[in-house]
Symmetry: C2
Subunit: 603 residues, 2 copies
């Protein structure tokens, strides 16, 4: 027994290899200390470059995503300053770019459009409350060490959800390319004919120009620049300037040709100048209760998506993400967003990829980007006023495309039909019932299908390999069996989900072999028997005894026997017994009876 305890201790210490010194503890909660200690001049050069590139992307994204959420542009900009700074202190990913993201933006839009919330007429305040609530929920989850809970959101559900949300965003942004709003006509044809009269040629022209630049700066330009022989990070830098360039040219076009007043091209409008004021005035009333469910879903998705993205880049460099610490970091970031009047934040997929590809070594890159953003907010907001909304719509559309993984759905379907169904149902759920309903549906479906699968454990009738004490599946090996002995190996823990299947399997086997006198259940793979299963085993034993048969157990593990010994199950089994090894059971129960040799079928 002493050895077992020693081993358990060894096993535990294995998962936490670092000794708990004060320093390592501090590093655990403030990972920035970890990388600052070995930070070099070269690291800074790399981070400076990546930080500038990411900042160039953050400005148009911040404005675009707040407009996508139906908010004034400054909420996205404010969310790009303090939140990534907080994440840099607490986060375990070195390259994750925290800030406004498209999926959270569409979730905010959906929350704000609920009748009770839109009736309040204060979307900015509601958004700040959403930030605060999601932050608090994440910190609460961290406190309860619930980081592992998100493992129960399967990838198909996540992909289905992301694709569904992306489709919603595309449907929302496409009309904006032509200066139209999202239609709200339903099935009214007359309404649509009025609607399309809002069509604006100048806007469409700007949008198409922006789209062309964005597409050309993608694959065509990078291929060309690589051929010329430029280094990868320079190529990335140039190609990632496309959003800023389109914004710049769009703004210049609007100003120069006076498109806003002459051709009714919609623009961003005035953005307040100066640093966001830290404020606590969002602590206010009834809205908190109304917004709580939406905040919970935003927190869940923000956390799951961020960790997923963080893991991708961490894997590429052999770094490690600590899920529970991520909850703390993202929770702090969202609280910081609330304090500085920003929208909820998460790790952005495209931005993180840009940051990584531009050569970011640590979160210093994001600190630099946040610094540049605060300069922009202080001095350059008048420049943002004339940015045409159509250009932002084009930027959003290009950024959302990689998230629309319809091909993945096809792959999933081909690989695992059940997962494919869950994925499609989640996607349709998001489109038909709404964002939160869709993801709930997906989670319920995957758990139900998982339970259904686990209710059919693998069971094997086994026999002895001649001349040995090894027992193997009679379907796969040439083994000896005895005509009044049924050896059944159950390859999973016995619980309420699978005991009925096991019972039916046993009944069918006894029907097929009515001469069986002794049933031996081999428990090599059974690590637990729950209450329901125990009661069912007692019933099975009674039924067997009533027909003159015995139930026996072999190879039960220590913990299982410990549990059984708390009950009188072993007593009830008599004359059935508990055997240490299957070979012992055969020796005693088969007695002098000659085995017969089964011609096994090898798979």
């Amino acid at each position: 027994m002493g050895n077992v305890v020693a081993h358990l201790l060894l096993t535990n210490s294995m998962t936490d290899p670092a000794p708990y010194s004060i320093m390592s503890r501090l590093t655990q909660y403030l990972p920035i200390i970890g990388w600052l200690r070995t930070y070099s001049r070269q690291d800074f050069n790399d981070d400076l470059f990546a930080g500038i590139i990411t900042a160039i992307l953050l400005v148009p994204q911040g404005i675009a995503y707040s407009i996508l959420a139906g908010l004034p542009p400054e909420l996205g900009l404010y969310a790009s300053i303090l939140p990534p700074t907080l994440y840099a202190l607490f986060g375990t990913s070195r390259t994750l770019s925290v800030g406004p993201v498209s999926i959270a933006a569409i979730m905010i839009a959906s929350a704000l459009s609920a009748p009770e919330i839109s009736a309040l007429g204060n979307p900015v305040q509601s958004t700040v409350i959403l930030s605060a609530e999601s932050g608090l929920i994440m910190l609460l989850m961290a406190l309860l060490r619930m980081g592992g809970l998100v493992n129960f959101i399967s990838h198909p559900v996540l992909t289905g959800f992301t694709s569904g949300a992306s489709l919603l965003i595309i449907a929302n942004q496409l009309p904006q390319l032509a200066g139209l709003k999202s239609p709200s006509c339903g099935l009214n044809a007359a309404c649509y004919s009025t609607y399309v009269q809002g069509f604006n040629v100048a806007t469409l022209g700007i949008a198409l120009a922006a789209l062309s630049v964005l597409i050309l700066f993608g694959k065509p330009l990078t291929t060309l620049l690589k051929k010329i022989g430029l280094s990868l990070s320079i190529v990335t830098a140039i190609s990632k300037c496309a959003p800023l360039l389109t914004v710049l040219f769009g703004t210049l076009a609007v100003s120069y040709f006076n498109l806003q007043s002459q051709h009714h091209v919609a623009v961003v409008g005035q953005v307040p100048s100066g640093f966001p004021l830290l404020s606590l005035n969002f602590i206010d009333g009834e809205q908190w209760r109304l917004l709580l469910p939406s905040a919970a879903f935003i927190a869940l998705i923000a956390y799951v998506e961020s960790v997923a993205i963080a893991k991708v880049t961490a894997n590429l460099r052999g770094e490690k993400i600590a899920p529970n610490q991520e909850l703390i970091a993202l929770g702090a970031s969202n609280l910081a967003a609330a304090l500085s009047g920003g929208m909820p934040v998460a790790g952005g997929f495209s931005r993180t990829m840009v940051n990584f590809a531009a050569g970011a070594k640590t979160q210093m890159a994001m600190l630099i980007a946040a610094g540049l953003l605060s300069v922009a907010v202080m001095f350059f907001t008048p420049w943002f006023e004339k940015i045409p909304k159509a250009v932002l719509a084009a930027i959003i559309l290009m950024a959302i495309m990689p998230l629309l993984r319809l091909k993945d759905i096809l792959h999933t379907w081909r690989y695992d039909c059940g997962d494919g169904i869950a994925e499609v149902m989640t996607l349709l759920g998001v489109l038909v019932f709404g964002i939160e309903e869709g993801i709930s549906l997906g989670i319920i479906l995957t758990i139900a299908s998982h339970l259904r699968k686990s209710s059919q454990p693998h069971i094997a009738v086994v026999g002895r390999i001649p001349g040995t004490e090894h027992f193997r599946n009679i379907k796969r090996h040439q083994v000896e069996t005895w005509q009044d002995l049924l050896l059944l190996r159950i390859d999973e823990s016995i619980t309420f989900t699978n005991i009925v299947y096991i019972e039916e399997y046993l009944t069918a086997e006894l029907w097929r072999q009515p001469n069986i006198k002794h049933v031996v259940l081999i428990f090599t793979s059974v690590s637990d028997i729950d209450t329901t299963a125990l009661e069912a085993l007692e019933n099975i034993n009674r039924a067997l005894q009533a027909t003159g048969k015995t139930l026996n157990i072999a190879e039960a593990k220590g913990p299982v026997m410990d549990k059984l010994q708390k009950t009188d199950f072993v007593e009830q089994l008599k004359p059935g017994k508990v055997f240490f090894r299957s070979a012992d059971a055969v020796k005693e129960l088969a007695g002098a009876i000659e085995p017969r040799l089964l011609l096994g079928i090898k798979e």
Copy 2:
């Protein structure tokens, strides 16, 4: 491959051993044909006796349970005639006594007390709709072959629920012993002092007398009669007449001493005479939608409890219950209850036990009981008018006691702490939040705890037993290992619930043994890899390759390989490989390196 197919066919035919002749098919859907074919004179004698005893119990129970549900007494009586007759035709249990039951009664009371329903002021019609809806729900479940779904209600949840509902019934009935109604005072002390003034000495006297008779006719009398040497069925018969006797004496006392008018002893009141009219007038409006959730819970509990009780008696005689056919039988019974103006029905625990103990051989006993009940309804209803309610309360209290299994909860807690928590939470949920909320809470808790457990699969680092090709757990056996080779056996299917645990286990192991060059995952017990797990394995492979290690697979089963071959996973593994046997992997990867012998620790 041909052999595999042949084997699959064999395996399938095993679970359905009977050939599908028309007769066997008919017997499957009308089990009555099965037992009528071999029905004997002796069987009839036994059934006649048991039928009379059960009928004697059914009359007071029928009246008592409808009063418990807050309904006129005839709804329980009507539910005791047509429903058991239908069950006799379709049911697979030979001794289950279908009719009104206490748990369903308290669920009906709870459904009727909902504000929207009680506002309608027509509890009788609402009850008949509940019967119809539960019947239809059961038939729908049968059609969808959802009989297996109830396996996901674990015994602890069922016990916790039954005990909680029993406590509610006791709290509801205890005041009635003293002529009081259930208090509705909340925390208002003044209200209570008015309330207790309703206290009625005469009622309490009758109730205590009834309780004494019921208790004396229980264990004390049966022990005595057995000592005298009477046969077991006669003893049962005498002891089970106690409810009828108390009703008889109670009624006589009320009539003779004029207790009703002189001492305000509450009585049952007028019961309409004659056979219930078959009616379809319950097909009516909005109520159907409002009552649907309650009907679903009643259907669920009625089905689960009935099957559980049917299994207990079937096990004792080596008979078999077909869950899906039970859904048909109970669905038909509840529809019959609706058609004949009765309350929802299920298999009753105490009544079935009485029926069984009195020697019932087949459902003929219940057909006889139903016949006697219809005679009672036609000719004897005037006799029911003066039955004191306090006597019925005493009968309910005595019948409910065996369902209050607080001792079981203690046992469960000691055997399996998680199950114990689920049980207590279900009980508390029923008491604090309500019947439907309690059972929902219990189901969610057990599924969550099941998922948590299944997210930590058994994983073993294995080595080779010297001189063999067998690989075993290094913690349990003396085995050979190789310093740059990690052999990891995963003892469960790899899915989204456990892949993160597996990943963390592998990471910790690699941290402990940084010299490892090749990781071999042994898939002997892996029967499925879902999409989430596959993506994670691809990431693990990428991370290993980034640090110059390889990922390899050994002993993958046919279906798993078939699935993997649909993807390019095997291609991605290169230079890692898929090996047929673990021994092949060692031969190729360890090469000429000498193994070291680990001193295994035997548990």
